[in-house]
């Protein structure tokens, strides 16, 4: 018998006991739906975790600093943090962290952005209150950082805007109603570093002059408070600061940084302005290690967190496995339903099977007929289950988001149907159904036609 004929006959047989077959098919659909819902929940959670990790800014960032002079011990090289330094690292000369260095890092493959991490001491005055604190800086690209999810007010309007973001605790020390500061003007007092022009000697300079390569001049700058933050970006990993400026503005201020003083103490002349540290943002988190190695080879010190996405992926393989198994339990129960339905059908249609064999059907024809019925139920159940699973996932997601919203949390997509799941669910459902049909179809094929036709 041709496959097309088997399918056609199977279709009419299924319609013949429509109620029973519909119930069985619904059983498969529920099984597939639970599998689809579970797997898409796993996929959604994985995407959510990936998104959060990326937005924390911790795993695509390399902190670059000047390499410290190496201490030489008895045995030569010092082991740092458990790993030995590569020969290249040991031999390359130390590089100053200046603008040339920044531009060079900018051109390393895989680097999205390199910006200086500028921090300095300053005093912020709002009305009658003034506080001295550490100022930090942040580039426009940090806008997507998860710390700003709960930002009150807004992010900087431009990379060089005279604007400031305040940490809530700090804002509270300036005002009893911190959020009322948003839109207000505050005054920043800081020390500007001013290079001594060639030919000028220290003696010829003002009273406040320090006798090295630069002088420090007190300055004031008016800033508009645009936002109040509850959290600091990068999880405070870069050191705490109570007030953040746009990086462009922070560069333009030429504020004297603690690192500059260290440089002077260390014997430099301070003539040449250097950055305290640079932040390298890598386009793809998995390239962090490779970029970090290249930076080190250029003679810079570098530091990054381990690629957490790797262990995260491993975790989710396990989670997906578990969710898949839970989802499959329902499908296994549904498979028993198919076995039951088909065995019943074989028993009921004993005579019909006998007739078919008497008029020329082979064992293979009979088997094929029952397989076609199983496959048809699997196909219908798979398609129905996919739709049902999608609906379940949708409501799960919507329900969770309503809950999150009611509790003042930002909403999250916790559910995602990967494209491969669509094909997989249907193919899997058909395969499970065919496997379930194995026994009943075999039984039908082996049926003795003489016995089947003997009794009326």
């Amino acid at each position: 018998m041709k496959i097309a004929d088997a399918v056609e006959l199977a279709g009419r047989n299924l319609r013949e006991s429509a109620l029973r077959n519909t119930l069985t098919t619904t059983g498969i659909a529920v099984g597939v739906a639970s599998l689809v819902a579970m797997v898409s929940l796993g996929a959604g959670l994985q995407q959510l975790a990936n998104r959060r990790l990326t937005r924390s800014g911790l795993f695509n960032t390399i902190f670059v600093f000047r390499q410290q002079p190496r201490e030489r011990g008895f045995g030569g090289r010092r082991e740092t943090a458990g790993r030995s330094e590569s020969p290249a690292e040991a031999q390359t000369p130390r590089r100053p962290l200046d603008e040339d260095g920044r531009l060079e890092l900018q051109h390393v493959a895989g680097v999205a952005e390199v910006y200086p991490d500028i921090r300095f001491q300053g005093e912020i005055r709002a009305g009658s209150k003034a506080e001295i604190t550490t100022m930090g800086s942040i580039p426009p690209s940090a806008r997507d950082n998860d710390a700003f999810e709960t930002l009150k007010g807004s992010f900087f309007s431009s990379p060089g805007a005279a604007e400031v973001l305040l940490r809530r605790e700090f804002a509270e020390s300036l005002s009893d109603h911190p959020e009322s500061l948003i839109g207000q003007e505050v005054t920043l007092r800081y020390a500007e570093r001013e290079a001594i022009k060639p030919g000028q000697s220290a003696e010829e300079y003002d009273a406040g002059t320090v006798g090295f390569g630069f002088s420090v001049v007190p300055r004031e700058r008016a800033l508009k408070v645009v936002g109040i933050m509850d959290q600091e970006p990068f999880g405070g990993l870069r050191g705490n600061s109570d007030a953040l400026l746009p990086t462009g503005l922070a560069i333009a201020l030429h504020a004297a940084q603690p690192a500059g003083l260290r440089e002077l103490v260390g014997g430099g002349n301070g003539q040449h302005e250097q950055y305290a540290s640079l932040v390298v943002r890598v386009a793809n988190p998995s390239a962090v290690q490779q970029v970090e190695d290249q930076i080190k080879q250029k003679g810079f010190g570098a530091f990054s967190l381990l690629d957490a996405t790797k262990s995260l992926r491993r975790f989710f393989v396990i989670l997906d496995g578990f969710l898949g198994i839970f989802g499959s339990i329902a499908l296994a129960v549904a498979a028993l339903g198919i076995v039951n339905t088909l065995v019943m059908s074989v028993l009921e249609r004993r005579r019909e099977i006998g007739i078919m064999k008497a008029i020329g059907a082979s064992d293979a024809d009979v088997r094929r007929l029952f397989f076609a019925e199983a496959a048809a139920m699997g196909l219908a159940g798979g398609a129905l289950g996919l739709a049902l699973g999608w609906v379940i996932g949708f409501f799960l997601n919507t329900g969770t988001n309503i809950y999150l919203r009611n509790h003042q949390y930002p909403t999250e997509q916790i559910w995602s149907v990967p494209w491969w799941l669509i094909g997989f669910a249907i193919v899997f459902s058909v395969l499970v159904s065919l496997a379930s049909g194995l026994y009943p179809a075999g039984r039908a094929a082996r049926l003795d036609p003489v016995q089947a036709l003997r009794y009326d």
Partner: protein
């Protein structure tokens, strides 16, 4: 009319012309069929030897339980004998796999039963078409052949009906059309009139006689009505306790 004898032969084509006359349709040699039930052996067939010539109309008579159906089933290849040889148009059945037996059944034989054995969920037309599906006949050809077979039995007006909507006589005509649709050389009928009143039964037998005479179809029919057998058969065989007897 449109129905022709099948051209295919299981033996080689050159010998076919001679086969048509000389090769017997059925040859059974010392056929036994034993059933073992709870330690006792039932000899449903006990050393049956017979030969049926091509184009013969043979009636098989015997009381209930004498082994008539069992004999028909082993000839049809639905059942395998415990011992002995059965040859149909020169093809020995014992050597055939169950797959080959099924093909043999749908290419060489048609079977009709006492209880009609139509598929209740299928229409008249679908029932008659069913053997053609197993024979993998193209759809386009199937329709024509189904109509032709139903025309032969005079039932073209009830194509869409289900068997339960037909009278007994009509159902048996559908069953006969189904047996005819593959153009068999051998028709086996197990008490085809057993469930019909005598007038309807005669109509069925007239039909079989036409096939025998016009189409040269070999017919073996089981019955227990001797009068009918005497009227229609070329030859009568008597079976008692699994053995052929002189009557």
């Amino acid at each position: 009319m449109g129905l022709q004898m099948p051209n295919q032969s299981l033996t080689n084509p050159a010998a076919e012309a001679a086969d048509a006359v000389s090769t017997p349709a059925i040859n059974a040699d010392e056929v036994t069929r034993h059933y073992t039930m709870g330690g006792t052996v039932v000899r449903a067939l006990d050393g049956v030897s017979l030969s049926v010539a091509a184009q013969e109309f043979v009636c098989l008579l015997g009381s209930s339980g004498s082994g008539k159906s069992t004999l028909l089933n082993v000839i049809a290849g639905l059942d395998r004998p415990t011992s002995g040889r059965i040859t149909i148009f020169g093809q020995e059945l014992a050597g055939l796999s169950s797959e080959a037996l099924a093909r043999h059944r749908r290419e060489v034989m048609g079977i009709v039963f006492q209880s009609f054995n139509l598929v209740p969920s299928m229409s008249v037309e679908e029932n008659v078409e069913l053997p053609l599906r197993f024979a993998e006949v193209e759809r386009a050809e199937r329709n024509g052949r189904t109509r032709q077979a139903l025309e032969r039995v005079g039932l073209t007006h009830r194509l869409g009906h289900r068997p339960s909507e037909l009278s007994g006589g009509e159902q048996q005509r559908v069953a006969i059309a189904r047996a005819l649709v593959n153009r068999p050389r051998l028709l086996l009928a197990d008490e085809p009139t057993g469930n019909l009143d005598s007038r309807t039964g005669e109509g069925i037998l007239d039909l079989l006689q036409t096939f025998n005479r016009e189409l040269g179809m070999t017919i073996v029919m089981v019955t227990h009505e001797r009068s009918l057998a005497e009227r229609y058969a070329d030859r009568m065989l008597f079976l008692a306790d699994g053995k052929l007897s002189a009557g």
